[in-house]
């Protein structure tokens, strides 16, 4: 039995004003918000930018974003049959869509030689 979540997702990069896009996502009870975002990429729009590595284990800590204004891991937040608003972290520099610069400064690539 599949339910529907409506994900309202912030799209855009630092250079443009950005916009909200809505996607209706089918899900089985128990599935995660990250499952929903991956479904959007495979079935609606592969250009949606998200970041994750471990998918389900909550080990990599990469999939942090804001759900209805609160910071969550997309892999442990569950999909619900309602409109859910997803935005990039507001306290980090935006890269694009739901991706922000979360790496510590010393772990980012910079082209200057030391």
């Amino acid at each position: 039995m599949s339910a529907m979540a409506r994900l309202k997702v912030w799209r855009g990069d630092a250079a443009d004003a950005g916009r909200w896009e809505r996607y209706d996502v089918p899900f089985e009870p128990g599935q995660s918000v990250l499952d929903g975002l991956r479904w959007i990429r495979a079935n609606r729009d592969p250009s949606l930018a998200i970041r994750f590595s471990c998918i389900n284990a909550n080990a990599c800590k990469e999939c942090m974003m804001e759900l209805d204004g609160k910071t969550v891991y997309a892999c442990t937040a569950r999909l619900e049959a309602r409109e859910m608003t997803l935005a990039p972290l507001s306290n980090k520099r935006l890269v694009r869509d739901l991706v922000t610069e979360i790496a510590p400064p010393a772990e980012r690539f910079v082209s200057e030689r030391r």
Binding site: N56, A57, C60, F109, S111
Partner: protein, 563 residues
């Protein structure tokens, strides 16, 4: 006209920052080298190491007397006659030293009365596996190494940097070309030595226990740079990966440590323990090896005695709440949040792609056939033969990482390595520059299609027909992918996935071809049309990339050992 790419000069380039890559970085830096540690994702948080739940096999002898030669015997036995005995010996002999170094760096191995606890795991002749509670081995290994990396000044870290190709100058690897994901900009890297530490290929399969960045990058980089691979047909399936009910925030291999500590019963839909039917009687203890358990579960499902989602039941209903809490503490609360009460219900489990025995051929110094190119960790082929013993993966990450870092530093100190020349990077820079917008293929969907093909037709049970069908599907996907990358923007996952598919399709083809050629069943490679292990197949297959993939048979890896 192309803009000038960003450029980096370093002594040692390390690709991948899991356990193997970080240990290699520390060792090379301590030997006096400048190190550039690149990862396609965050430093020290992706890959397989951070996902490890519990066991690290090592002949420490803190539980019962032990010697590395006993661990070695068990490793060879598990490998079904195909281990590269030089590498297996290195793993077992140097394991204790690395484990004690990790202890000195403050990892916090579980202890009882002051001595490090060692658990019994299937395939071992005695308790041999160290761990960090609760289910925290991988995160603790990653964190400990990350802390040492951070305080080592000579290591420069670069996250979100995808290595696209290695570059060769006069037959030696002299660096690489990379894609900086946050900007989409190309980067050239000049290095006197390069270490591949990218892990395995479990992302090729639909259900897998590793992270999304384990798509076989390192195997593809090595093949294109001229280095041969071995044992590519041997993909280890972890038999009791979580299947149902849906569980979030937990790794699917979490039931392994539960079985180590609490035994547990593996049951079919009729409530019967069934592994005895396939040669190993469990009787509540955890003794069945991974290849046998995978086979047993699949055969029960085939005989319509599987669980509702197509696996087996795993029950801990014989355990009290107090026993469960004593063994796993806060994990029991995380299960409760997923509506799972183990005292009242079994869970469903099924085989899940977990580890790759095959990989890049290396000598005891971890150097490949191509000068300047080294390899470490799961990316190395041969140490585990046709089936890996439980607990050997983290051990090999540490031991092989340390050895690769040391060998790379020795090369750096020798004068006369080929200098990087920008011209040799041009073909890859042109490829990066040829990117285009295309919406007729969805790269995320294509990866799912490939994962389905590999799971259905190149899974643990293979036939000629299935493998031929897989090779046709892979060729079809390669055609659809085309010659020009897709995507343009900053952090454009289509671009990342295009380059991932370029690697994944090459590696998938190598696995399927090696599986088709091996007309017998051995360890993790089971041919339904060729059951049984044949003496004449006690050989390793070696894959090289020329105009296509070519396979040869070699008995030298196993023999190198015997001498």
């Amino acid at each position: 006209m192309q803009a000038e790419p960003m450029h980096v000069d370093t002594d040692v380039l390390i690709i991948g920052s899991g356990g193997a890559g970080m240990y290699a970085a520390i060792e090379a830096a301590q030997a006096g080298c400048e190190v550039f540690l690149a990862d396609r994702s965050l430093i020290g948080r992706g890959g397989a190491t951070v996902m490890a739940q519990m066991t690290v096999a090592v002949a420490l002898g803190s539980e019962t007397p032990d010697h590395w030669s006993h661990h070695y015997d068990d490793t060879l036995e598990a490998g079904r006659g195909l281990c590269d005995e030089r590498l297996a010996r290195l793993l077992c002999e140097e394991g204790p030293d690395c484990i004690l170094q990790m202890d000195a760096w403050g990892i916090g191995w579980a202890r009882k009365d002051g001595r490090i606890t060692q658990a019994f795991a299937p395939g071992h002749d005695r308790p041999r596996c160290v761990y960090v509670d609760f289910l925290n081995t991988g995160p603790a290994v990653s964190k400990t190494l990350r802390t040492v990396v951070t305080r080592t000044k000579a290591i420069r870290k670069a996250g979100d940097l995808l290595i696209v190709d290695l570059v060769r100058v006069d037959g030696e690897v002299a660096g690489a070309v990379a894609l900086h994901l946050p900007t989409g900009a190309p980067v050239t890297i000049a290095a006197k030595a390069t270490i591949i530490a990218t892990g395995g290929l479990t992302r090729l399969y639909r259900r897998n226990s590793a992270s999304a960045n384990m798509g076989g990058d390192g195997y593809a980089l090595a093949l294109r740079a001229g280095a041969p691979l071995t044992d590519m047909e041997f993909v280890q399936f972890f038999p009791i990966g979580h299947l149902a009910p849906r569980l979030i925030g937990m790794d699917p291999i979490m039931w392994d440590p539960f079985r180590y500590k609490l035994g547990g019963r593996l049951l079919n839909s009729q409530g019967e323990e069934f592994t005895a039917r396939y040669g190993v009687s469990e009787d509540g203890r955890y003794v069945v090896t991974r290849d046998v358990a995978t086979y047993a579960i699949a055969k029960e499902v085939e005989a319509e005695r599987g669980s509702p989602h197509g696996g087996a039941y795993l029950s801990f209903q014989h355990c009290s709440e107090a026993e469960l809490r004593d063994a796993f503490g806060p994990v029991i609360d995380r299960l409760a949040k997923n509506n799972i009460d183990l005292t009242r219900m079994p869970v469903e489990v099924a085989p899940i792609a977990h580890y790759h025995m095959g990989g890049v051929i290396a000598d005891e110094r971890m150097e490949t056939e191509v000068p300047g190119l080294f390899v470490a960790g799961e990316a190395v082929g041969g140490a585990n033969g046709a089936n890996r013993l439980s607990g050997n993966a983290i051990t090999e990450a540490l031991v092989f990482g340390r050895r690769a870092g040391r060998s790379a530093s020795e090369r750096v100190k020798r004068a006369g390595t080929q200098p990087f020349r920008p011209q040799v990077a041009q073909a890859t820079l042109d490829l990066l520059d040829a990117r285009q917008d295309r919406d007729d293929i969805n790269t995320a969907a294509m990866i799912q299609r490939l994962q389905g093909t590999m799971a259905d037709d190149v899974g643990p049970f293979r036939t000629q027909d299935k493998l031929a069908r897989a090779l046709a599907a892979i060729a079809d996907m390669s055609n659809a992918l085309g010659e020009r990358p897709i995507g343009r923007a900053a952090f454009d996952l289509r671009l990342l996935e295009w380059f991932d598919l370029r690697n994944m399709l090459l590696v998938a083809r190598t696995v399927a071809m090696a599986a088709l050629a091996r007309t017998e069943s051995r360890g993790a490679h089971q041919r339904e049309d060729f059951p049984g292990m044949l003496p004449e197949w006690r050989v390793n297959q070696v894959a090289r990339l020329g105009s296509g993939i070519s396979l040869t048979r070699s008995s030298t890896l196993a023999q190198a050992a015997a001498q």
